[in-house]
């Protein structure tokens, strides 16, 4: 988040969500009913990882839909955040799930949840 974003309530709201939840997915639709194939793929990957995650349906609010692109300086949705860090979109998340990086990143969260 750059200095100029701090005064924007949408950017502040997104920042709060991203920092409050260990895993946050900004997506089109909901995990139960994704409305885009790319969002659907990331939901399937996260469900396989067996960690709880917060999902934000950007289709419900154009300000969030546009705002999240500014927040990450990333032009597409879905966007995955882990521990406040932007991880990537569908292509990057898919690659990280295939090479084990995502599992390694989520393992501590899964362990914390089980304890």
């Amino acid at each position: 988040m750059t200095d100029s974003m701090h005064s924007d309530p949408i950017q502040q709201g997104i920042d709060k969500l991203v920092k409050e939840h260990p895993v946050v997915l900004f997506m089109k639709g909901t995990p139960e009913f994704p409305q885009c194939g790319f969002s659907q793929r990331v939901v399937a990957i996260l469900n396989n990882m067996a960690v709880p995650y917060a999902a934000v349906n950007v289709l419900l609010d154009d300000a969030v839909r546009d705002g999240i692109k500014v927040y990450a300086d990333w032009p597409t949705i879905p966007q995955l955040y882990i521990k406040g860090e932007f991880i990537g979109g569908c292509d990057i998340v898919t690659e990280m799930s295939e090479n084990g990086e995502l599992d390694a990143m989520l393992a501590p969260l899964r362990a914390a949840q089980e304890n």
Binding site: D73, W74, P75, T76, I87, G88, G89, D91, E95
Partner: protein, 92 residues
């Protein structure tokens, strides 16, 4: 996927090769393979460049998005993107 019916800027959907040229122009030594995976505005692209060395995947993808500029915000409905360095290419 249904296209939005509201007025869109009157710009033509870019051809795959136009997108490849933009990437080649902006990213040094980029080798670009591009095609359509669905319809006429769902693109898939693979970019290999030594300029990606030492950069995170997010940074690599941002370089490609920057090269595509306004196309990314307008008529490119979807872009499935893979980036790698020539060294990674050899390992595949």
């Amino acid at each position: 996927m249904r296209r939005m019916m509201q007025a869109m800027p009157d710009t033509a959907i870019p051809q795959p090769e136009e997108l490849a040229d933009l990437v080649r122009r902006h990213i040094p030594e980029a080798q670009v393979e591009v095609g359509l995976f669905s319809g006429d505005d769902h693109f898939e692209m693979r970019v290999t460049s030594s300029a990606f060395a030492g950069k995170s995947r997010v940074a690599q993808h941002k370089m490609v998005y920057a090269a595509l500029g306004e196309h990314m915000r307008q008529r490119v409905h979807a872009l499935a993107l893979t980036t790698c360095t020539p060294q990674q290419q050899e390992n595949i």
